[in-house]
Amino acid sequence: MEQHEVSSNEVQIVAFKLKREEYGMSILNVEEIKRLTDITRVPFTPDFIKGVMNLRGSVLPVIDLKKRIGLPDAEYTDATRIIVVKLEEITVGMIVDAVTEVLTIDSAHITSSKQITSTENDAHSESNKFINGIGNLNNRLVILLNLSEILGLNGEIK
């Protein structure tokens, strides 16, 4: 277990692709990763809510992550995956273009979103509120997502 003992400065990230960019979320929020399955459309929902899927008998809402954070739409491919995410008793599936790997990043290498945007004075602009920070792993940039914003836990989705 010694070598797995992540020092308090390190975080483990599930990295995945949306378009060409690499994104990540804390592994602690990831329940499992599934292949794309049947998704049932639910009427009267925002367009980024793809619908609901069957996860071993329970009904799971599915979010199209690209639509959610304002990236252009694209066809689903063989590499498309659903990451099952759990945050504060809410479990949802998130559609991503591909899951790459689990990364360990030293928190010293994470630039928080405040630092990035403070100079531009648009810290709360629509596209940036979903971003917690950017991890830099030997010049490989991973955008870390703010899951609670994405799930609208702050009361946006109604």
């Binding site: 639910v42 069957n54 008998g57």
Partner: protein, 680 residues
């Protein structure tokens, strides 16, 4: 003996026995001559005694033992079950309940103070005996002694028994009637009876027992039982063998002399096969007993933890998904055999799924059955006369809901009796019957289960509530003035309103009503109240069938599948586009002279329509909510099916027109329509 592994069983079974004690004691109170009630009470108490003694809970065993003494006197008509006695017995049950609760909490069971109860029990028991017998237990023993003088002749012998006895005699065996009386301290009676049986089996054949073998196995007998034994041994030998078994108090043996059978032909026939018949018959008797046992078992139940059911349900879900994959493989590779097999598997998994779902359902009767006792105690406490009626106790609800609903209901019932039902004299003055009525009613209504607590009491005075609420600062004077009476009455559900000091001065209600409301709402339900002055109040709890199973019609709209609850459906009809008439810009159809507005489901749900198919046949599902009717236009009717309602979850909870979702047999999800919302 390691009793830990039996602990759970003990607790569960004790609860059952206490419940049955409560119920039957209520019956006995109503009709003191009810012999089946007293017998059942005795049996439950006795089983409880045996179980607790085995588990080492002597306090429970001792209390039940003392109860038994009194019960025994009642059972033998030596004592009348009057109010005092029933009261004491109820208190004993409460004490036992407390002890069992302590055991389940890991506390010592003997921390409950029962000395008073024991004294009173003994006083009741000894007060009705000869002064010579100081202890009830001894008197029971005495009684048994007395009974032994009566010759044991009451075994009824059937023709078959007679034949057996006769043929046994012909082959030199004796038929004897053996009466075994166990020591009254005997706890493991079943074990003793079993030892008796096996001892006798070694020296002969037991052809009959009273009570029957299965009752012996389940301890459904008192301290004595009788057997008919066919054996070559002498009576003394048999007696000494039996007396070697511990805890046997007495054995009485009597030879049976049966007159020679009248029907010669049968006896001749039997004679030919004498030894065989005797030998064969003994196992046959046993076999029959075992069969009986099985029958009993099929009606019995097994207790399973809900989390096990959950994981079972998940596994079944997984199985279904994999089955669907196999199906796809079969179809893509055109393997007929595989497809065929999968089709059969499909049926099995479907059944499996629905059974697993059903297993989670329990009837509300499980909650309701505790209320007769609650009402009885409360009526006594409040000096009121109350008659409780229960309806719809076989309505099924999900187990999790059942577990939660009990406390709110107790609250409502207490409120109805405390604040609703008036004192008998007041009722008489108002021209009502002295006996107040409290009703507990459950039924299905559309997608919901309705549970109502009704009373014919004083009703809730809206003005008092209004004033109290203003005084408490829950609402402003202005709010209060603008409120209708119905709205004012609903104030009782507000948190600020229902503190206990309010109740004492208000003739209305309010004890923890907000707690009731919160619990109900946590279950996804709503509570409402209707009240009429001097006519009573109705508290109506509406619970969604979360996880409940309903019958639904599956319909197809542009390849999307929706479920419409069957309870809301009147009929389905086939129309052509010409049948649709427009009235004030609204599309309607006429069915049997009735004008019914229609809703195009694809438009109502913003379904992306692939193509317009105006010229085809149109299917309309006619639904109703209350008296209002509406036709829902769909593309195809798929069929009727039992579905399990699941919530869409917190994230999607805002969507009104969808009341839930269900997982279809192929793993696909179909949404359930809320017809009432759709009609608006």
């Amino acid at each position: 003996m390691d009793t830990n592994q039996y602990m759970e069983m003990f607790l569960e079974e004790s609860k059952d026995h206490l419940q049955s004690l409560n119920e039957r004691l209520l019956d006995l109170e109503r009709d003191p001559a009810d012999s089946s009630a007293i017998n059942e009470i005795f049996r439950s108490a006795h089983t409880l005694k045996g179980m607790s003694a085995t588990m080492g809970f002597t306090a429970i065993a001792e209390l039940t033992h003392d109860m038994e003494n009194v019960l025994d006197l009642i059972r033998n008509d030596k004592l009348k079950a009057d109010e005092d006695i029933v009261d004491v017995l109820f208190k004993c049950i409460d004490a036992l309940q407390q002890m069992v609760d302590n055991v389940s909490d890991g506390d010592p069971e003997n921390s409950v103070e029962v000395k008073d109860l024991v004294d009173r029990l003994n006083a009741i028991a000894t007060g009705n005996q000869q002064p010579a017998a100081p202890k009830a237990a001894e008197s029971a023993g005495k009684k048994a002694d007395n009974e032994t003088i009566v010759p044991p002749t009451d075994i009824e012998l059937s023709d078959i028994d007679l034949d057996l006895i006769n043929s046994a005699k012909d082959s030199g065996l004796r038929a004897m009637q053996v009466k075994v009386i166990l020591a009254d301290t005997c706890v493991l009676k079943t074990v003793r009876s079993y030892m008796v049986m096996s001892a006798l089996d070694e020296i002969g054949d037991v052809i009959k027992s009273i009570p029957p073998t299965e009752d012996l196995e389940q301890e459904k007998f008192d301290l004595e039982f009788e057997l008919i034994l066919l054996t070559g041994e002498e009576e003394q030998k048999v007696e000494s063998i039996l007396m070697n078994i511990s805890e046997i108090k007495k054995v009485i043996i009597k030879l049976i002399n049966v007159p020679a059978p009248v029907k010669k032909n049968i006896s001749v026939e039997k004679k030919a096969s004498v030894p065989a018949a005797v030998k064969k018959n003994a196992p046959a008797v046993k076999k029959q007993a075992i069969q009986h046992h099985d029958n009993m078992k099929s009606g019995q139940s097994v207790r399973v933890g809900i989390e096990r059911l959950d994981s079972l349900m998940n596994l079944v879900g997984e199985l279904v998904i994999n089955k669907t994959r196999l199906e796809q493989i079969g179809n893509t590779h055109r393997i007929a055999e595989l497809v065929e097999t999968v089709e059969q598997m499909d049926r099995v998994t479907g059944d499996l799924q629905s059974i697993v779902m059903k297993v989670r359902m329990v009837t509300v009767g499980q909650v309701f059955n505790r209320f007769p006792r609650v009402v009885r105690d409360l009526a006594k406490e409040l000096n009121k006369e109350v008659n409780l009626t229960i309806e719809g106790e076989d309505t099924e609800l999900d187990r999790t809901v059942i577990d939660e609903i009990g406390d709110p209901l107790v609250h409502l019932i207490r409120n109805s009796m405390d604040h609703g039902i008036e004192h008998p004299d007041d009722r008489e003055a108002k021209g009502k019957s002295r006996v107040g009525k409290v009703g507990l009613i459950a039924r299905h209504e559309g997608n919901n289960v309705i549970i109502m607590v009704t009373d014919d009491g004083a009703g809730i005075d809206a003005n008092i509530i209004r004033n109290k609420a203003i005084e408490k600062g829950v609402i402003t004077q202005e709010d209060g003035d603008n409120m209708t009476d119905a709205e004012a009455v609903r104030l009782i559900f507000l948190p600020g309103f229902s503190t206990s000091d309010v109740i004492t001065d208000v003739s209305g209600r309010g004890v923890g009503m907000d707690v009731v409301r919160t619990t109900i709402e946590a279950l996804g339900g709503v509570i409402d109240v209707e009240t009429k002055k001097n006519e009573g109040s109705i508290f109506k709890i509406k619970l969604p069938l979360t996880l409940a199973i309903i019958q639904a019609l599956l319909v197809d709209v542009q390849e999307e599948i929706y479920a419409i609850p069957l309870a809301a459906i009147d009929s389905t009809i086939n129309i052509t586009p010409e049948d649709i008439k427009t009235i004030q810009n609204k599309e309607t159809i006429v069915i049997r002279g009735e004008i019914i507005p229609i809703v195009r489901l694809d438009r109502a749900l913003n379904v992306v329509s692939a193509e317009d198919k105006e010229d085809e046949e149109i299917y309309v599902v006619v639904v109703h909510v209350g008296d209002k009717k509406c036709g829902i236009m769909v593309d195809k009717l798929i069929g009727q099916q039992e579905i399990v309602i699941k919530t869409l979850g917190k994230l999607l909870s805002g969507i009104k027109v969808i009341s839930g979702a269900t997982v279809l047999g192929n793993g696909q999800i179909a949404l359930i329509l809320d017809v009432a919302i759709l009609m608006q």
